[in-house]
């Protein structure tokens, strides 16, 4: 994690207003190649607004937005995607009734033939899907099986694999582990680590400090629309991070009341 390289994505003093509501009030963060940046914050901290701004859904009211050192202003999600910023939302944009292959290539189907005989290259699509799933360690016996038959963790991995396959440089993951069990979570975390090792920058949004600490290289904590700070893993412990995220005191006293189990 050398500090000399240009960050893949960097924002400085980002401000976003929705009418009279100040959703972001000066947020700064950056993500490098080969790095998992965890974005931590409790409900209402501005995590969703921040990722939607990064993904090109919202335009910032003010502040700097740099992609690989160049100032950029996205006109929409498609634009962000073309710049290599892919977002995997909580609902995954997957259709349970459709096959794994059809989901994987949805909107970006490989075609062969020309004119009226242009058709989807099903064999290639099936092979790519099978290979990509195999790389993650998901054994899809039949890429034509419906996504609905996959577990939550597997679906999450398919969604991430899809973004990676289609050339994402920066991956924004919106609470990928929030609805998963222990085994499923470790599967997804393992895959996030694998994606990072490939050289991508990952922005991992979560409010679970344990999950963040397991894969994160740096941690940016948001609170009430502002960045409280960014810490490298060796600068901060898991308990400190927890307290920072929850706004300190209150949670600590609550935790004592509950016998230190939060």
């Amino acid at each position: 994690m050398s500090t000399s390289q240009t960050p893949l994505v960097e924002v400085r003093n980002l401000v976003k207003h929705f009418g009279s509501v100040i959703a972001l009030n000066g947020v700064s963060m950056s993500v490098n190649r080969n790095e998992v940046l965890c974005l931590l914050g409790d409900n209402g901290a501005g995590k969703s607004t921040l990722i939607n701004t990064l993904a090109g859904v919202h335009k910032p009211t003010s502040g700097d937005f740099l992609v690989e050192g160049q100032p950029r202003l996205f006109s929409g999600p498609r634009d962000a995607l073309d710049a290599g910023i892919a977002t995997v939302y909580q609902d995954l944009a997957m259709i349970p009734l459709m096959s794994v292959t059809r989901n994987f290539f949805m909107g970006r189907e490989p075609v062969i033939g020309f004119g009226p005989f242009k058709r989807m290259n099903m064999d290639e699509a099936d092979n790519v899907t099978r290979d990509e799933m195999h790389k993650i360690g998901i054994d899809v016996r039949d890429p034509q099986q419906a996504v609905g038959t996959l577990s939550g963790g597997e679906r999450q991995c398919v969604a991430i694999a899809r973004a990676v396959y289609f050339g994402a440089k920066v991956l924004i993951l919106d609470e990928p582990t929030s609805a998963l069990g222990v085994a499923q979570t470790s599967m997804v975390l393992k895959y996030i680590n694998q994606v990072r090792a490939k050289g991508l920058g990952v922005i991992f949004i979560t409010h679970n400090v344990r999950h963040a600490y397991a894969v994160g290289n740096r941690f940016t904590v948001l609170n009430r629309g502002k960045t409280l700070g960014t810490y490298a893993k060796n600068e901060i412990g898991i308990d400190e991070l927890q307290n920072l995220m929850a706004g300190g005191k209150e949670l600590q006293s609550l935790s004592e009341e509950l016998g230190g189990t939060i």
Partner: protein, 373 residues
């Protein structure tokens, strides 16, 4: 990073909790299974109960003709249902397209090609109107097209009276198209030469005077088969087919993945209107006249055939070839009952019963496909 490095036994290698996918399960996964099963059952039923004349060449043509007329509508309806929308106006659209086509042909004295183009233009317009109203208002297509069921039927009545000078029937199409080079595409029987040859060779039945009992294949059956094959190919093997499934399965997810959902649905509404127009042209040329009751209640039969063919009412799942088989089941029962001693009005009872069975069956299948519990 200890957590991330932990081996996760349940994802690497085959999962011991999953049974192997048998060929049977693979077959059960096909959406058209219900329609094929229904067809087999109905065939067996009529083999046992009906006069053997039903399964001669002439008998088969007899029930395939109405099956084809319904089937062309049902395939359009099936594509639209997979795309997540309904069109209840197709029955009325048949009548309306018949009026437009007939007027262009008889009242304005246009050539067949022009009459067809005028009818197509109206169909495209009404398809786009249905689509735009549904998508702009965000109302269910069920209600928007229900409005058009009445609007188009009413317009047909008014229009027919205007075009014919007070009657609800318009005649004289046969004479108007006589000699047109396009006419054989939309009326009569195909391959008469082949059938004459087959009759001379003694392969098919002939009348006492030597002409074949079946002079050829009625063109609507050829249209029906061609459209079923084309629709199936589009659905399963093209990019647009993937977009149809995606638009019906979850429009939001599809849109996020870059699928032009509005364009897909608009195209599908236009396709159903065009299917209705084709049926109108075929039946009008066949009868030589058009009337206000044409296509009456066909929207329901088409949707039932699509459902029997495996389409889910919620969209995103189904098959065109299923609608093809579903329509043949209909044709067989409608005509087949006349070959038995059973009262023909049982047809309606059958219609309802078949719909219920199919919907229940589809629900079970869907749970199997998605692994829902």
């Amino acid at each position: 990073m200890t957590l991330a490095n932990e081996q996760n036994g349940s994802v690497v290698g085959p999962d011991e909790r999953l049974k192997k996918v048998s060929t049977l399960t693979a077959i059960l996964r096909r959406p058209e299974l219900g329609a094929v099963a229904g067809l087999v059952l109905v065939t067996i039923f009529f083999f046992v109960t009906a006069n053997p004349a039903m399964f001669t060449l002439a008998g088969v043509m007899n029930f395939m003709a109405p099956a084809a007329q319904l089937g062309i509508l049902a395939i359009g309806a099936a594509l639209l249902m997979i795309g997540g929308e309904f069109d209840l106006s197709i029955g009325s659209m048949v009548a309306f397209a018949g009026l437009v086509f007939g007027t262009a042909l008889v009242v304005w004295q246009g050539p067949l090609s022009v009459a067809i183009l005028v009818a197509i233009a109206f169909a495209v317009f009404i398809g786009i109107t249905n689509a735009q109203l549904t998508m702009r208002t965000g109302l269910p297509s069920f209600i928007v097209t229900l409005a058009f069921l009445f609007i188009l039927r009413g317009l047909t009545l008014v229009g027919l009276k205007w075009a014919s000078g007070g009657a609800t029937q318009l005649r004289g199409m046969k004479g108007a198209v006589a000699g047109s080079p396009l006419a054989p595409l939309f009326s009569g029987d195909a391959f008469p030469g082949l059938f004459t040859w087959l009759a001379e060779a003694g392969i098919i039945d002939t009348f006492p005077n030597g002409t074949p009992r079946v002079p050829g294949i009625p063109v609507e059956i050829l249209w029906f088969v061609a459209i079923a094959l084309l629709a199936t190919w589009i659905l399963l093997r093209t990019r647009f087919g993937n977009w149809i499934f995606a638009s019906g399965g979850d429009p939001r997810a599809a849109r996020k993945s870059g699928v032009p959902v509005a364009r897909v649905k608009t195209t599908l509404f236009v396709v159903t209107a065009l299917c209705a127009t084709l049926v109108a042209i075929l039946t009008v040329l066949d009868a030589g006249s058009t009337d206000a009751r044409r296509g009456f209640q066909k929207e329901f039969e088409a949707i039932i055939a699509a459902v029997i063919g495996g389409c889910l009412l919620t969209g995103g799942y189904g098959s065109a070839i299923g609608a093809f088989f579903g329509s043949i089941v209909f044709g067989m029962v409608l005509i087949g009952l006349t070959y038995t001693s059973i009262d023909q009005d049982w047809y309606l009872v059958f219609l309802g019963g078949m719909l219920l069975t199919a919907v229940v069956f589809n629900n079970v299948i869907r749970k199997r496909v998605t692994g829902e519990r």
